[in-house]
Subunit: 266 residues, 3 copies
């Protein structure tokens, strides 16, 4: 179970240390992602030129790889950045956006997982299942896409890959293969604007930058997202205003760990 005091401490640490989070992410969400990282207290940088990957990773505290608007050139940059981060012992978080939608995305995700060995993989249930189906997980895979059905697959995937798996949905499940954390915070409007999943991944990077217990870091990130979402959702019923209020609430985040409970099923 996540300690409330630890969560508060980690939030304070992000603000105090303002870790630089290097994002190789998609065009759609770059502005929103940068603003969510700033709101929570971290420093964002977006950069993708192969020529500067090593230096940029070297001054950063975490690396976030997001497959949202993929192209060959960017995959090349992701591999250079990923290898550099791993060599330097810096956390790498992968968001396999659209895995399962095209073989290009599924294959790229699989390749990054095998070669880079990201510390945390954060996706929705269908993306996590797609990765497992791609042969990374060898056991049979449920075809259903509900997050709770993805838990067993996520646990297997965590064991095989050595990555913490963070599956987002109405309830989020985060597992290292043994322990399963469950986060019930959230709001349906988080699904009505673009980029909240990607923001969750970037914020996972921010927590991982200051807490090397990645299971805890990944869980705390989903708590921060969910709590800010709940608070924003209490102020509006429409997505345009929600997007704005969500940034406000991340910035103002007061600790209110409602709805959190440990389900530790292992």
């Amino acid at each position: 179970m996540i300690d409330r005091k630890k969560f508060i401490d980690d939030l304070h640490n992000i603000r105090d240390k303002s870790p630089l989070i290097h994002n190789i992410t998609n065009y759609v969400v770059m502005n929103f992602t940068a603003n969510t990282l700033l709101a929570i207290g971290a420093s964002p940088v977006m950069a993708h030129a192969p020529e500067e990957m090593e230096e940029m990773v070297s001054i950063s505290s975490a690396l976030v790889l997001n497959l949202g608007t993929l192209s060959r050139k960017w995959i090349e940059a992701m591999h250079i950045a990923g290898e550099t981060a791993k060599k330097q012992g810096k956390p790498v978080v992968l968001d396999p956006v659209g895995a399962g939608a095209t073989s290009f995305r599924t294959g790229t995700a699989k390749n990054i997982i095998e070669k880079i060995k990201p510390d945390i993989i954060r996706g929705n249930a269908s993306e996590i299942l797609a990765i497992a189906r791609a042969g990374i997980s060898t056991k049979g895979v449920e075809s259903t896409l509900a997050a709770d059905k993805a838990v067993e697959v996520a646990k297997e995937l965590a064991v095989e890959t050595g990555s913490v798996i963070s599956v987002s949905g109405k309830t989020d499940y985060i597992t290292d293969g043994k322990t399963v954390h469950r986060v019930d915070n959230g709001h349906f409007l988080l699904g009505k604007i673009t980029g909240t999943g990607c923001a969750a991944t970037a914020i996972t990077g921010a927590f991982a930058a200051i807490n090397n217990d990645y299971l805890t870091a990944a869980t705390e990130a989903m708590m921060a997202m969910g709590i800010a979402g709940e608070k924003a959702g209490g102020e509006t019923d429409s997505p345009g205003t929600f997007q704005v209020k969500f940034i406000d609430e991340l910035y103002k985040l007061q600790i209110l760990i409602s709805g959190y409970q440990d389900t530790n099923k292992s």
Copy 2:
């Protein structure tokens, strides 16, 4: 004339079916476009890698091509995606952003129109006139840029290309070469933020995805944009807030077909 009931039905259908709209669009508007599509009930995907164009089109219900921040690589992707969509009988909507500004843009628009034969072309008066001037329309072209003066040119262009032509301005005109629909809804603040034209094109894709009468679909999209703009404009007089409220109003869209009338001039 657009049937009010049909407009309401089509709005409901977008929400019920949540069609996946594949956008190859410009960097400036991607976030806003994705959020407008989500607000109206559709599902956006932005993807441009040639490697995944066929698969992405295959799982989508409409394709939107937008020339806003053009480059050679993306044009290649547009052609693959466009040809795939046409083969599969899926609607293709073209937004010739900046046609007339540079020969690269005018030429790319012309080429896509000739090779892909988009079902709907949506642009402002100067873009539509630039396309006609580029030799796609063979008759003389008015040099004036007002939308109402572009109507005759749009009708000719529709006949020659076989595309529905949607010309946006203070009043929007939509024509298949025979019938001309006119939409008077709108608000001047729609022109004070970036990306509303591009959003109109994406929403045209959403209506075309659930209504294969493309003249009607293109008209309904402009109605939805205009009505949401009017409602947002009733809540603020400044563009920052307007952008937020516009998304809210698209989401809350209640049917209020004010200002709409058929001018059926043919």
Copy 3:
């Protein structure tokens, strides 16, 4: 010292003439930059294809080069656009985003400064110092990053490059090597959202487009940014809402040149 009447006149001129500002800028800020330019009354265009650089510059009134999400292809476009603008006597503004962070960025900034000779260089203190350190300024460089300590370096850099140097920080300093203008307007929330520095650069381009006294133009741009920031900061204490209100206040900008004073140290 900046004349209040001149500032008001220049603001009116931007709105009346609506100069087209050609931006080759980074993905993160494109939407926000376009909306800030529209809010102040200018017309934004974002374009980067080498094929259309000459034509696009030819119809524009100023060129803004921003190194935020750099890649080889875009650098190529920047050089073509920059050379075209200089040949045509149009102002070129450079924002060396991240200079000092990687040698790729520092080197690219240095190269553009030497080859294109931008009329104005606008960056934060650490970026300006990094450029000076890169050997463009030959004298010793202070290692501290506060804007006020960067003033002397900025003055030297201005003399050597022939560019107006605009250093942003809590207080902004703008110098042509002889005169130093100082702008105290601003609000701390400007630093809590992404893209305000990039917006300042784009707005510098808008003022330079209608005022060829670039020292004055660059100063007025920082005043406009700072005043709009102060007004937005008076309406909210959170960054999401601040971003929205900032656009509103740029749009509504009433002249209120508080906090401005000439420090003319030379």
